[in-house]
């Protein structure tokens, strides 16, 4: 997730990571405050609009949603059948559409169906809101943010180095796979046990190599003076600009409205 940063100069890209995190928090809270799928749909459309201004790769988002489709269907069916009519205050939602079993067994209620829809939409909202942050925020900014909330420097370093090594390890595993294929290895063939076994010749050199690399990394860190000073120079300093304050005030106002509406029972089923 963290490495999916797509540098584009959009408005959202320029916002501070804290402003964006606040926005994420407010939108997801709003989504969880309202049970009415219509309101959630509204939030979703708003997020979709924001995402579309960012020039971001929508295919990635579609991919995530596609993989979630079976879960969506299961959720709809289960909530539809398991929420009895008595759960809902609104007369409309108490309506029973049909019974799955004879003798009034397992009724499907309108409200249950709506509620299932809301749950699905909430997942949508989470996917979009988190995509907005990851697509528009560089790892450095995220690490800076984590440091600001008092994460130790060493921890931030471990995360950054880990991310740096993802492509390296991918390339290594590809080289090892090729070397074993040249010796007649066949992957992804046969049953599950055979498949797993076929990967042992890739896994072991990977592990051995990683151990050797981690030793060398430790030495290289010393060579570059890691830990020689009490503090280190922060190269990028995240900074709240006036636009960030304005956006933050707006999002907080939205949060206040949402909470007020919630207390008045608006958006309940």
């Amino acid at each position: 997730m963290l490495i999916e940063y797509y540098p584009q100069g959009s408005f959202i890209h320029r916002l501070d990571v804290r402003t964006k995190t606040l926005g994420f928090f407010v939108f997801t809270t709003a989504s969880f405050c309202f049970e009415n799928p219509l309101i959630n749909l509204l939030i979703l459309i708003l997020l979709w609009f924001m995402l579309s201004t960012m020039n971001s790769p929508m295919s990635k988002v579609y991919g995530i949603i596609k993989s979630l489709l079976p879960i969506f269907i299961i959720m709809l069916v289960i909530t539809g059948f398991t929420y009895p009519a008595s759960k809902f205050t609104n007369e409309e939602n108490r309506k029973i559409l049909f019974y799955l079993l004879p003798d009034y067994g397992l009724p499907m209620t309108t409200g249950g169906l709506y509620y299932g829809l809301t749950l699905v939409l909430r997942i949508f909202v989470m996917v979009l809101a988190s995509s907005i942050i990851t697509f528009s925020t560089s790892i450095e900014d995220i690490l800076q943010f984590l440091k600001k909330v008092k994460m130790p420097h060493q921890m931030a370093f471990v995360i950054a180095t880990g991310i740096r090594f993802i492509p390296t390890m991918q390339a290594k595993s590809e080289m090892i796979r090729e070397a074993q294929m040249a010796r007649g290895a066949e992957f992804d063939k046969g049953g599950i046990v055979k498949k797993i076994k076929s990967y042992i010749p890739v896994l072991i050199p990977m592990i051995v190599d990683s151990l050797r690399m981690s030793d060398n990394l430790a030495i290289a860190m010393l060579n570059r003076g890691f830990g020689s000073m009490k503090t280190t120079t922060n190269l990028t300093e995240i900074e709240m600009k006036s636009i960030d304050y304005i956006i933050s005030v707006i999002t907080l106002t939205i949060l206040a409205i949402v909470l007020y509406a919630k207390s008045k029972n608006i958006g309940a089923l």
Binding site: R164, T168, E178, M181, V208, N216, A220, G225, L235
Partner: protein
């Protein structure tokens, strides 16, 4: 005034050093001095103690690798035992062998900044340092490049920039050129010479690059079995061929490295081709083109025939298309257009596993394939994939290990073998499969002169027993000495293709 109190100098007085858990003493009676602004080369066989010696200079030994240490090392007027490595790193920069594990930044700029930011240097000064260091190594304009997307040579230069950014007075480099092509290698030495001349930095470099050592360094120290066996100006070492050979150092000279001479040989190619025509064609590429997913055209319309029992060397710069071409032969990569025929059959529908019966491929790094707990099992793996009977497997493993000279090691754990022996094991594991065609990718990379010669002899022997042999190499001298034919790749095309009269 004691000279070892001067900045930029080194004084090593080590009676003994032995790694923890090691049976052998790695260094003994090691005494030498290095002056400020000197350019010193450290040479000798693999296992002679070069890396260990270099790790003394910034205190990694004995501070990080504790072991059994008896002696004193004064680097830049600091006794290395009294300072932490991190503190010394500011004055004594160490660049190690594998660039991959020395790059921390996601971008080039961030990586160069890693050192100075650890030293808590002012932010505005760091951005100046970044520019200066990248300028010295010739990577200006690379600031925002993603570090993992750099080429091997660029990565190597980035690691040097990263250490230079600490502004050390002494720069120590451990075989920084082993993965580079001849051009890239020279670039590194040139760059170091400039640092010595213009900034008066003291430079100590280890490696097997005889030509460059002779041309660029002021002095050479030769190690053998953990002690200094020779110390003096490079000319006197390389002028004495026997001496160099005795210490396992590749001799310089007989400049067959120049392509002019090769082109003259090329003139005579026509005569040689007459004999070649009667031979059976083993590999044929017809209008072969290939393009990587990122759109890089790695092979452009290659037409090539390789004959039975030929010993072919593929040469050319990094990224010229040698490896990409070789991978077409055993189906690891499939042509974008055009065909490749093995024994007259188009292999576009054959998997690498199927082709492995006919075509062996030994990769550059043996550690990318070794996974078994014994040498025997390692060789047997490919044979199991061929579904051979146990008796047949035993017979073949025995023969293959004998061929490479590892037959008395078959119960050993592969990772207790030296690098050269692991390379041989990798070769044996392919040989046992009895391929008719054998591709060996850079068999001599990172090997010392003895190991190189042994490897080349092994290949020669295989070839004379009937295997069609294709090797990828940067060493033109070896290619000329051992192979029948040399094909030079350049920018995805065959630039020149000639029979080597000498070997025929």
């Amino acid at each position: 005034m004691n000279s070892s109190n001067e900045r930029g100098t080194i004084k090593v007085e080590v009676q003994k050093y032995q790694y923890e858990n090691s049976i052998d003493v790695t260094l003994k009676n090691l005494h030498f001095d290095i002056k400020k602004g000197e350019f010193v080369g450290l040479m000798g066989r693999t296992g002679a103690g070069k890396t260990t010696t270099l790790m003394l200079l910034n205190g990694l030994i004995p501070n990080f690798f504790e072991g059994n240490f008896d002696g004193t090392v004064i680097s830049n007027s600091m006794n290395t035992q009294r300072y932490r490595v991190q503190t010394l790193s500011r004055f004594v920069g160490l660049v190690m062998q594998d660039p991959e594990t020395q790059i921390f930044g996601i971008t080039v700029e961030k990586d160069v900044a890693f050192g100075p930011s650890n030293l808590a240097i002012e932010k505005s000064r760091i951005s100046e340092i970044i520019n200066e260091s990248l300028n010295v190594v010739g990577l200006n304009g690379y600031k925002n490049r993603i570090s993992t997307e750099l080429s091997g040579g660029e990565k190597q230069r980035l690691t040097i920039a990263g250490v230079l950014a600490m502004e050390p007075e002494i720069l120590v480099l451990d075989e920084p050129t082993s993965e580079l092509d001849p051009e890239g290698r020279r670039e590194i030495y040139k760059l170091l010479k400039i640092l010595v001349k213009e900034k008066n930095v003291t430079v100590i470099i280890s490696g097997h690059d005889s030509e460059e050592m002779l041309e660029f360094t002021d002095r050479i120290i030769v190690l053998d079995k953990g002690t200094i066996v020779w110390n003096g100006i490079p000319q006197s070492l390389f002028n004495d061929k026997e001496l160099a050979e005795k210490y396992g150092i590749m001799p310089t000279g007989n400049n067959s490295n120049d392509l002019e001479q090769i082109n003259r040989i090329n003139e005579e190619k026509l005569n040689a081709e007459g004999t070649l025509k009667e031979k059976k064609i083993m590999i044929e590429a017809r209008n072969l083109s290939f393009e990587y997913e990122n759109g890089r055209k790695a092979l452009k319309d290659i037409n090539l025939k390789i004959f039975e029992k030929e010993f072919v060397s593929l040469i050319g710069k990094n990224g010229a298309g040698k490896t990409t071409f070789s991978k077409q032969i055993n189906g690891l990569l499939k042509p974008k257009s055009g065909t490749i025929l093995i024994n007259g059959v188009d292999i576009k529908n054959n998997s690498t596993a199927e082709l492995s019966k006919e075509i062996g491929y030994v990769f550059q790094n043996p550690d990318h394939q070794i996974f078994s707990a014994t040498v025997y099992d390692e060789v047997e793996y490919g044979l199991k994939n061929l579904k051979l009977t146990e008796d047949e497997r035993e017979e073949r493993v025995k023969n293959a290990l004998e061929f490479v000279g590892l037959s008395n090691q078959n119960k050993r754990h592969p990772f207790t073998l030296g690098k050269g022996e692991r390379q041989k094991l990798a070769v044996a594991s392919i040989l046992a499969m009895k391929p008719k065609i054998l591709v060996i990718d850079e068999p001599t990379t990172g090997q010392d002169w003895d190991g190189t010669k042994r490897m080349m002899e092994l290949m020669k022997k295989l070839n004379s027993e009937g295997t069609t042999l294709i090797t990828i190499t940067h060493n033109l001298k070896l290619a000329l000495e051992y192979s029948d034919r040399i094909i030079k790749f350049s920018d995805g095309k065959v630039e020149s293709d000639f029979s080597n009269i000498k070997a025929i």
